[in-house]
Assembly symmetry: none
Homo-oligomer: 219 residues x 2
DNA sequence: TGTTTCCTGACAGCTAACTGAAAAGGCTGC
DNA sequence: GCAGCCTTTTCAGTTAGCTGTCAGGAAACA
């Protein structure tokens, strides 16, 4: 799942990002409304994690603008203990849930999962790939010839990126960023190893190698 | 069974929750319409226990909104002795039953069971799992190779959650919420211990571990 | 052919998960 | 109130599975 975290407290933001990355999610972080708007223009996020108290503008305006423009991207707002009015304002502005700081990171995961589950109510949550492989992105489930198969969190993080961009070749660099945080160095062949592991689970033909460029799923 | 109790009289709410928890139900409590709406967004409840006189908004509007959005979640309303009009209004708004305060807790259990039975209207109450395990959710009975086996209330609370969502992986956090109240902290490995006990009773393969995520029954 | 790129088996370190046992809490019958 | 029994919770030692790294080999390409 691709998550945009908008939060100006860097300590908190790092903790959240690390936790979600470890759980196999793809997290981008912005510490201001302006940057968040730019990032949302370039990427379709699955969930927005929004602090309501940001330095350069009220987070709530970001949410309002989003809803006004017709977006239904799920949004969980983060508020301080004593700001109950914010919370209600946020929900009225179109937030889906809220968390009161300080919050437990597992609690966050649970809420994210709940939000994702709710929104997975789209008509066709399963994406069909070659080789009898079906993928439910929101439910994090893979069926191979109808049999449910589990991926580890890293395997999923990688596969998720590719399935969301069918037919598009992703570089090892891009895939590495799904595994680790933005800007990490490639030091080993981790991606190759995970591609290999995924192929063992999913079958040889689901992931294609584009030599010298990267990997591709579908099309 | 997962029950949402919406009640602002805290003494009463505690008594009801304790009674139902002791009976192995999973109870979340909200004392306002706003919070109830949020909780319902995140969780699929099996029954709604709704006080009609709430501070921040009429409970009946919650129910109306629910029915308008197509939900068929069973709802039992709680009303004071003298508010007969409320009762009628409630039933018209889509409530399934009502209880007049003060009510007997066993009476409550009976009504809950009746409502649940009505809604679990599938002809064959037994759900078959792998390993010769059959489960009757309404009757709270488990047959292993045809032999009846008993679960303690906590064991049941946990197992019930999983059986109701076959094929879906539930996080420890979610399962913890089946055992305790909404928002409780994970302090120990209680869930792991109960999973271990359930496996001893039901066999190794009924409950699958999805490492780093949670547990799953079936599919 | 030689060179580059990619694949994959093996393995050590680490962390999540499992489980036996004991302590704590609760209920029942006397 | 007390004894005995069962359930619940906690703790700690062990086990199992995931991750990241490397190295040797295969495949692609020139």
């Amino acid at each position: 799942m691709r998550i945009l975290l908008v939060e100006d407290e860097l300590m908190l933001a790092d903790a959240v990002r690390d936790h979600l990355l470890a759980a196999g999610e793809a997290v981008d972080h912005s510490d201001s409304v302006v940057d968040a708007e730019i990032m949302m223009r370039g990427t379709n996020y699955d969930v927005l994690l929004l602090d309501l108290n940001l330095p350069d503008g009220k987070g709530i305006d970001l949410l309002r603008g989003l809803r006004r423009s017709g977006s239904t991207t799920p949004c969980i707002i983060l508020t301080a203990q004593d700001q109950i009015s914010d919370r209600i304002e946020g929900l009225n502005a179109g937030a889906d849930d809220y968390l009161v700081k300080p919050f437990d990171l597992n609690e966050l995961s649970a809420r994210l999962a709940a939000v994702a589950r709710r929104y997975s109510g789209n008509p066709n949550p399963f994406i069909s790939l070659d080789g009898g492989v079906e993928v439910d992105l929101a439910g994090r489930t893979i069926l191979i010839d109808g049999v449910q198969t589990d991926l580890t969190s890293r395997e999923w993080a990688l596969f998720d990126q590719m399935v969301r961009r069918p037919g598009q070749t992703l570089s090892k660099r891009q895939l590495e960023e799904a595994l680790y945080e933005f800007g990490a160095e490639i030091e080993s062949n981790t991606v190759e190893v995970y591609i290999s592991r995924l192929r063992r689970k999913l079958g040889k033909d689901v992931i294609k190698t584009v030599r010298g460029v990267g990997y591709r799923v579908g099309a």
